[in-house]
């Protein structure tokens, strides 16, 4: 049986979103997959902001926007917690045994515009 879809909220009641485009800079030849990166981001954010803090950010690493070749991806969060999310990215310096750093490419309010300019 098909599950009933929730009625869409009014624009004024919806959460305002922000999209953060980033690039992972790593040692030459290293490629990371989505799940590795997702785990690293979640662990660091939970450590730094705590469970309650993360719940306020509505953070989500978008799976279809992660490109393992260019190592570029997009993070979604709400407009009130952009600084917390970006600062947390700065605290990730290792992914497994590899040293990494994040370059913030762009910040946008719509997924369309960030995809066009990436």
């Amino acid at each position: 049986m098909k599950q009933k879809k929730l009625k869409t909220l009014k624009p004024t009641l919806r959460e305002k979103e922000r999209y953060v485009a980033f690039q992972v800079i790593s040692e030459e030849g290293e490629e990371f997959n989505y799940s590795d990166l997702e785990a690293a981001i979640w662990n660091t954010m939970l450590d730094f902001l705590g469970e309650e803090g993360v719940s306020k950010t509505s953070v989500w690493l978008m799976k279809d926007c992660w490109d393992p070749k260019t190592q570029k991806g997009i993070l979604r969060c709400n407009n009130k917690s952009v600084q917390e999310v970006i600062a947390s990215l700065g605290l990730i310096d290792r992914l497994g045994d590899n040293r990494i750093t994040f370059k913030i490419l762009r910040l946008s309010g719509t997924i369309k515009s960030i995809r066009e300019k990436l």
Binding site: I25, G90, R99, F102, K103, I104
Partner: protein
């Protein structure tokens, strides 16, 4: 907007990465200039650093400055004596007397992490007034936060927040630096701005800490290296 990082250690001081690696990474992350910080140990090392820096600066297309970090009173006195020969004078915070001496000295540009290895924040309202008078910037060191975790990180962030609050009240210039010892610890300017916001600065103020305040220091460097300059506040007209 031009971004600067004024506290970076290379292999010539306590760092691990070469000057070239760090300069390339800084360029990639979008910095306009960086300052390599060394200690007053060996004068031959300093000459070598200067040679490499002047070559690389043109090659990579990034402004590179040389700074000295004084670790104690005697080093600070020595460094003040030949102040015109290098660009930036930093004082390694932690000792209360040294912190006080740093904010009292006009030749000093930056007091780095005054709360380092201390139970208190190492900075108070009296020092804040002196820092404003003498135009000494107080540093927020990102490496301190990056290299700590759990309760240590929470304590460090609390002390920095206290210092930021005092600085805001007394209009002391605040500067955010990565304090990196490898090129992997060099962070994107937007990350430093965000951390500044989390530590109690407004977005505008946080942007100033890595653009306008370093630019003011660069202005002072150029003034100081001018032939007409004699000492702080005195020059030939």
């Amino acid at each position: 907007m031009n971004f600067y990082d004024f506290h970076v250690h290379s292999e010539f001081s306590e760092g691990e990465s070469t000057i070239e690696e760090i300069a390339n990474r800084a360029k990639l992350l979008g910095y306009k200039g960086i300052c390599f910080t060394t200690y007053l140990d060996d004068k031959n090392k300093i000459k070598k650093t200067k040679e490499i820096v002047s070559k690389l600066s043109k090659q990579i297309g990034i402004e590179i400055f040389i700074g000295f970090e004084a670790r104690n009173m005697s080093e600070l006195d020595k460094l003040i004596r030949f102040r015109r020969e290098y660009d930036v004078l930093l004082v390694k915070g932690s000792d209360l007397l040294l912190n006080r001496k740093a904010v009292e000295t006009k030749e000093v540009d930056i007091l780095t992490h005054p709360e380092y290895n201390r139970r208190d924040s190492g900075f108070n309202h009296v020092m804040a007034q002196l820092a404003t008078e003498n135009n000494v910037a107080i540093e927020i060191n990102f490496r301190e936060i990056l290299n700590s975790s759990k309760n240590t990180r929470a304590n460090i962030m609390h002390k920095i927040k206290t210092n930021v609050e005092i600085c805001k009240k007394y209009k002391v210039p605040v500067i955010i630096c990565s304090g990196s010892v490898t090129h992997w610890q060099l962070k994107d300017p937007k990350i430093l701005i965000s951390m500044g916001c989390l530590l109690g600065l407004e977005l505008k103020e946080a942007k100033k800490t890595i653009s306008e305040i370093p630019e003011n220091i660069i202005k002072m460097i150029k003034e100081r290296q001018d032939e007409k300059w004699i000492r702080p506040g005195v020059k030939v007209v």
